[in-house]
Symmetry: C2
Subunit: 342 residues, 2 copies
DNA sequence: TTGTATGCGTTATCAT
DNA sequence: ATGATAACGCATACAA
């Protein structure tokens, strides 16, 4: 089936190609009602579909946006296995599709910048997830298209930001545990890097401790990779060597799940022996046994918001809109925390 | 930063645009060594990046491939939350990136065909997941680009297929349970549709029963939606009303997880009271407590294979290759099945 | 209101 | 070996 072009439609309708173009692009005021009719008939007759490549060439607009996510450590797969990313992309996809956009998903290649992909495809905008070196953001800026950063504490007028109040979240989680009578509270977490989400959550943990006049005990923080696997390790360590610990705040749900597993491997039961609270509320958390008590952020909604924000920026409709959106957090009580206050 | 074109490079190198094009496209035999040198210098000097839209226009090749996955029932989000799809896409992405392709992911819109997206973007090929109405495949064929179907029992010379032996998988699972001394084995499954993967697994279940001279008992099959939620329901039903059932084969891991939850809600423990085996081996299955015994298919590898297969077809290099690839299955023993044979 | 002509960046044909 | 030029499909400035 040979591709039908605007010219074919024009010929079929007995008008010029320009008229067809007008009709397609909503400039109907430039076309009389009857020619418009003929054109529409011809279009559906021939099953005309516009060629976005051609359009992109003349408009410098591709209707394509880029989504960047981190890679796994072996640098081979994108982190799509991480439920957090798949949920958020799910949200982005939905919003983008509603607005007539497509997207290209890339796991960032070590070294190679994103500039190539962006230029090749003439991307109209991009959504960036994950934390990278300073230099990566500098490169991003050179691309010179609207971009929104998700969960980043990089503040630069070039980027729009969308995130949550991580410090407050860490505070909420810890205070909740304290409210349930716990005072020896461990922290299981990924690497605490300056200005990363993890550091903020850690800071919130410390603030809650302080507010409750509890000592912050460095030996209670288990810092490793932000992964299920390290969670297991932390859980084991706690289960074996620290019977005085009655609760742990894990800075992500995946890690919390690991902690529970590690704990149970040493015969500790959750929440009977040790309480665990997570962060994120990924889909598995309500499936796991015990169902996980956690700090919920609406992940899908975050994706939708990010897409909205980007689209607004692309249309220049965000002049008076805030450059930064903070989504609400909420604690969801399930079965992994026990009240030990008498 | 204004876009650098092939002409800019040509000017900088003091040659013609055609020469640059030759240099880029590996037709170096058409260019002398020294001009080639000049061109390369100019390219890196100017940070030249080719415009794929322009290329697509003249070549009719976009270097873009389409991935189609089903939507959730509310028709709003793509099924990316389903770990099976995210894992497989992860595999596809990796292979595609290695070969210099990008992809566009679409949740299929009810009614609207895929033809539009495909034509708009000039897709070079597509990978289709999920089961659709006959008519959808007919439409697909009109697009007339290479396509591979994942886990479909549609056999049509137009499509390449990639899948597993679902019947055998169902057989393996059931026989395994029988080998562990179980004879009252329930089946928890999604809708059994003619020629769907689920039906095949169901058939394998019946075959194993028959081979072991066990009666097939229709009241032992719980058929609903292929979801965690229905798994919970099935688990409850079994736990409450059928104490004679000692094992259940769930036709997907997500469902198996639900069954375990439902069972435990009625005070039944897995595997002490009831054994459960799943199908797929998604990532969560080794995380869940108890760790799930299941029929493993290497999901990521499936994605990689699908991409390989498609790329071969696109390059016409698959003339002598089989149109259908069946990936191996393997049983992985974890902690959700108990041996009750004496 | 309608149509003609030009250019977007690239590849390919055809001279030179 | 090299370069001028047409063509890809579309949008738009401009002329009619």
């Amino acid at each position: 089936m040979k591709r039908q072009t605007i010219k074919d439609v024009a010929k079929a309708a007995g008008v010029s190609a320009a008229a067809v173009s007008y009709a397609i692009n909503g400039k109907e005021h430039k076309v009389s009602a009857e020619t418009l009719e003929k054109i529409k008939d011809a279009m559906s007759e021939l099953n005309y579909v516009p060629n976005y490549s051609a359009r992109s060439l003349v408009n410098n607009r591709s209707n394509l946006i880029g989504i960047v996510i981190p890679q796994t450590e072996d640098m081979n797969h994108p982190l799509l296995e991480n439920p957090f990313y798949s949920e958020i992309i799910s949200g982005i996809e939905a919003e983008l599709r509603n607005r007539g956009y497509h997207f290209i998903l890339s796991g960032v290649n070590k070294g190679k910048s994103y500039l190539d992909t962006s230029m090749q495809r003439n991307l109209d905008g991009a959504i960036i997830m994950g934390i990278y070196h300073e230099s990566f953001y500098e490169e991003l800026k050179e691309i010179n298209i609207p971009m929104v950063l998700i969960d980043s504490y990089i503040h630069d007028s070039y980027f729009r930001n969308i995130g949550i109040d991580d410090e407050e979240g860490g505070f909420m989680a810890t205070r909740y545990l304290i409210g349930k009578g716990h005072s020896n509270i461990a922290l299981a977490t990924g690497m605490i890097k300056k200005d990363g989400v993890v550091e903020k959550r850690f800071l919130g943990y410390k603030r809650a401790l302080k507010e409750a006049k509890l000592f912050y005990r460095p030996e209670f923080v288990y810092e490793g990779t932000m992964s299920y696997e390290y969670g297991v390790e932390a859980g084991r360590l706690i289960g074996e060597k620290h019977p005085e610990i009655t609760a742990v705040f894990a800075t992500s749900d995946m890690m919390a799940l690991g902690v529970i597993t590690g704990l149970s491997e040493c015969g500790k039961r959750v929440p009977e022996d040790v309480s665990v609270i997570g962060f994120d509320d990924i889909a598995i958390s309500k499936i796991f046994i015990p169902k996980l008590t956690t700090i919920k952020q609406n992940i899908t909604r975050k994706g939708i918001k990010a897409a909205e924000c980007l689209l607004d920026a692309m249309n220049g409709e965000d002049a008076e809109l805030p450059k930064e959106i903070i989504l609400p957090l909420e604690i969801v009580e399930r079965n992994s925390v026990r009240d030990i206050s008498e």
